[in-house]
């Protein structure tokens, strides 16, 4: 790959950029999921990972040779599911906070085997 190729790749926005971006987003979400201690930040991280997937779906849909909207439809579904999931998750977080007085996942060890 010579310099021109690299410049073209860097300036001409294509599928690779979207995929790289979504992978980055996914990685950030996963990192947060593994390191954050509060329930709310964890939910936010899960949202990040979900949206990384949505971006993939839309991007693939856009670059598909035939004209079809199934990817976008899937993304809209995923957004709807994510919204309800967040509602349930936040409600759970509230309940847990009222019962245990904390939302720190290190403190919530009742599932210990």
């Amino acid at each position: 790959m010579n310099l021109m190729d690299f410049v073209r790749l860097a300036t001409h926005v294509g599928l690779h950029h979207f995929l790289l971006f979504s992978a980055l987003l996914f990685a950030i979400g996963l990192f947060g999921l593994l390191t954050k201690k509060g329930l709310i930040p964890l939910l936010m991280c899960v949202e990040l990972m979900l949206n990384a997937v949505n971006i993939n779906l839309v991007a693939f849909n856009h670059y598909m040779p035939v004209s079809d909207y199934s990817g976008q439809l899937m993304a809209i579904f995923a957004v709807a599911v994510a919204a309800s999931e967040v509602a349930v998750g936040v409600a759970l977080a509230f309940r847990i906070y009222r019962d245990h007085g904390t939302v720190d996942v290190d403190e919530l060890r009742e599932m210990k085997g």
Partner: protein, 633 residues
Amino acid sequence: MFFDFALYHAWLIPLLPALAFLIIGLGTRQNKKTSAIIGITAIGASFLLSLGVVGAVLTKRLVMAAPFVMKTVWAHIGNMDLGMGVLIDPLTAMMLVVVTTVALMVNIYSVGYMAHDPGMGRFFAFLSLFAASMLGLVISLNFLQMYIFWEGVGLCSYLLIGFYYYKISAREAAKKAFITTRIGDFGMLLGILLLQITFGTVDFIELKTLVPNYIWVSGTSFLTVIGLLLFIGPIGKSGQFPLHVWLPDAMEGPTPVSALIHAATMVVAGVYLIGRAYFIFAELPVVLHVIAWLGGFTAFFAATIAITQRPFKRILAYSTISQLGYMMLALGVGSLTASMFHLMTHAFFKALMFLCAGAVIEAMHEEADIFKMGGLRHRMPVTFKCMAIGVVAIAGLPPFAGFFSKDAILAAAAEVSFPLYLLASVTAFMTAFYMSRLLFVAFFGEVRDDCPAQETNAFMRWPLVVLAVLSVVSGAWGHFAGFSDWVFYGVREEEAINWTIAGSSIVLSLFAMWLAYQIYVEKRWSSHQIAKRLGVIYDLSFHAYYIDEIYAFIRELTVDKIGQLALWVDTHIVDGVVHGLGRLTKGLSVLLALPQNGDTQRYVAFFYTGVIALVAYSLFFAVKILAVTGGAF
């Protein structure tokens, strides 16, 4: 007409008591009177049908060689047909009448005997079941059917010996009887299976034609093994040495049961089995020798024990063993006629004596020791007369029943082997002695001051009278009416009385009775002095040769030790494996529970590690496939 009906409906004979058992057992058990009526009605009807069968046998001239057979297929397995049915020949007819007569008398007697027992309904149910099993055994037409009913009578014997189940001794005696006879039954089952394997059938009629051909082709060696195995069953059931130990203990049951099962009918099932399968045994000289000598030895051995026993029923029990030995001896020396004749007369007079024993023991308020009785003839004249008839009959004085049958056995033994004849004669002498001793000690002498005995009620008196009449006439009737024309094997035996043998046996019996009279009534010699003089021999006889103790010792040595070993294996090896598996699972689960520490984020980390591993794995293969296919999926 009735004869035909009885013959063609002979299957009703065991079925009626079986129905009575069901009705009493399921319905009227609580009601004593109804139960007794149902039981007696059923056995009475069977008795009438049995008489009809005898009539049919006489009028239709059914003989041993050409029996009447009704057969139906009970089960069909592969190419093997298991039949059930009815086989009527003179032997069967004789047994049917003997069994139903004694059973009817015992049923009537039991109305009086069990009147104050709360378990009377149960008693009649068991008696009916026993009658059904025994009659089923008698009319069997193959070994399998016989074996089923054989076990049936064993079960009834167990139930009735343990009738007073709240008494530990009764429970123990019941178990002893069942287990001891089971040992014999096992041998017999092996014999039956070998018959089935060798001949492909266990049907008496078919075997009768197959056995001579088989012997002609292959000799008698293997059949001898089968014969000996089959004989083990009768050894257990008919109380032959060395499996006789259960019979004296079986006297724990109610006395009518002892009379019916352990004297007159069930214990002769073994003799009957050999008689029924005589076409096998008669061809095997070795087996016949074993039967003859074991029977002769048992007769002698039990008689020596009976001489020193004190409880009323125990003397009769050893006497029964001795008389069963006599029947075996007769079979062994080849006389089916003499054996079956003695079976019939013995059933009558031994049942009579047992029923007398029941009357006496009840009148004495459960006191069984004859030396605590005395002078009972003044208090219980009818019972005394019946008992005296029984004693004279078993001692073998003419014209009572025992004379004819015993003479037939002695004559048959004398023909074959002089030592056996001598053994039988000595046994006859001892029999006369100990039976007279029983009679003289219990019924003669002075009445004791504290003796509570009174004559019994009518229900218990009349069966005694009927059986006493039969004890008098059955022998002479059988002899003169031609018993040997009906029941015989091969060629008919001449039945003229050999007066040398008969005379000497009468003299011996009279001498034995005189001796007993001198010792126990006149008290010319003190019985205590004689016992002391005999020393060890008396001890051996009084303790029945310590056979029970020897068996207990052997059991401790073998069965108990094996049991301990099995227990050790069970607790250490079997349980060890089970416990070890448990511990292994527990340890593994502790190990596997370690990562599950409740830290959600660690779970997430495990999960994504797995996902990444899967993705890496599939990528690796995707690249490989790409390399192979040259870039195209």
